[in-house]
Amino acid sequence: MHEFSYEAPTTVEQAVKLLSSDGDSARVICGGTDLLIQMRNAVRKPKLLVDVKSIPEMREISFDPKTGLRLGAAVPCIEIHENEAMRRHYPGLTEAAHLIGSLQIQSRASIGGNLCNASPAADTSPALLALNATAKIVGPNGSREVPVEKFFSGPGKNVLQRGELVTQILIAAPPPHTSDRYLRMIPRNEMDIAIVGAGACVTLDGDKVKAVRIGLGAVAPTPILAPKAAEYLIGKKLDEKTAERAGELAREHAVPIDDMRGTAEYRVHVVGVLTKRALLGAAERARQN
């Protein structure tokens, strides 16, 4: 690897200062599971790494039934899975985090790193889209909040400006009879990148759908929403037939590429299958809430 310096600030303010000081060549490092590989391959050559893992608010997981979830961007995926409130209130996001790599990777890989790396196939992104999560961003000009659906600007690209970092991910408390589910398809049993990821969050009113969001991964230049499928479901009973139809509508949003993991045609097909299953799974959980 090339030469660089390393700092581990303990406050967001110090981190912003460090990130702003070194112009475009300072970068956040969290778990390093994407970044260190990119640096070894000389894809990225930061002169300064700013390690954010010692900043307390970035390691926080706090759930409040009124104000919802504050999830520190530096929380490693394994801590999400181990957290009782996460498993209970956001089981879909939790299962997405617990699918990432191996236990070795989950011990390091952060939720914020998964988001900021902005891979179209990142597993937590469709789950965050389904939950209508918001990224809290702090930079030299203060702080701002950006919904995850507006966060990505292309493969590997996001809306962060120079000196900015994501400090927390904010998610509303789930209303009654709401739950989420995330499913992905990979060519192997473990340790592979999704050829399709589908996240769904469903709110029921009796046996009808009151609200629903569907996020898709690995089928477009960025993770995307599937609004046509969601609109179709509003006011309907969520069963095999309507979930199947929603899956067909979700396919219309998918614009995947062919690659070594699967053809575009196959990916589009799988979008239908996983959307249907994620919706039925989320509804099943929502009935119990």
Binding site: Y6, I37, S102
Partner: protein, 159 residues
């Protein structure tokens, strides 16, 4: 040469200070600076698990962590498993069950297995296979490794 940083950490229960460049991984720091060559380098991409060590009890790929990040942490490497000349039950069972051939993957498997048994002393076969999913072995076909972990669990529990 880049400025070196002083890193104070705990390795296998001992307080250790070492000097490394920020660009040196924990794996390089262990092997090249501290002479702890038990942890192996397979892929450098987090896929093979040969470099697995425990950091504050959790398994991590030391190839994907910087040496400077070890500051203030508790690191356990394969060198910390045996007590003097007494092998850890996992090591003993890997030998008895012929769970290694070339052996390059073994330190990583031992550390992943240790982290599993520390948390879950009586794992099912599925739980063992899940916990070892981040470790690759090109020689054994895994069955004997799984058996050794089951046997070691029995020894540790005194069954």
């Amino acid at each position: 040469m880049a400025k070196k940083s002083l890193v104070e950490t705990t390795i296998n229960g001992e307080q250790v200070e070492f000097l490394c460049e920020p660009r040196q991984s924990l794996l390089e720091s262990l092997r090249d600076v501290l002479g702890l060559t038990g942890s192996k380098e397979g892929c450098l991409t987090g896929d093979c698990g040969a470099c697995t060590v425990l950091v504050d009890g959790r398994p991590v790929c030391s190839c994907l962590m910087l040496g400077v990040e070890a500051r203030g942490k508790k690191i356990t490497t394969v060198e910390g498993l045996a007590e003097g000349t007494r092998l850890h039950p996992l090591q003993q069972k890997f030998l008895e069950d012929a769970s290694l051939q070339c052996g390059i993957c073994t330190p990583g498997f031992l550390m992943s297995a240790k982290s599993l048994l520390d948390r879950n002393p009586n794992p099912t076969e599925a739980e063992i296979r899940y916990a070892l999913a981040g470790n690759l072995c090109r020689c054994t076909g895994y069955d004997k490794i799984v058996r050794a972990v089951q046997d070691a669990a029995r020894v540790i529990q005194g069954r």
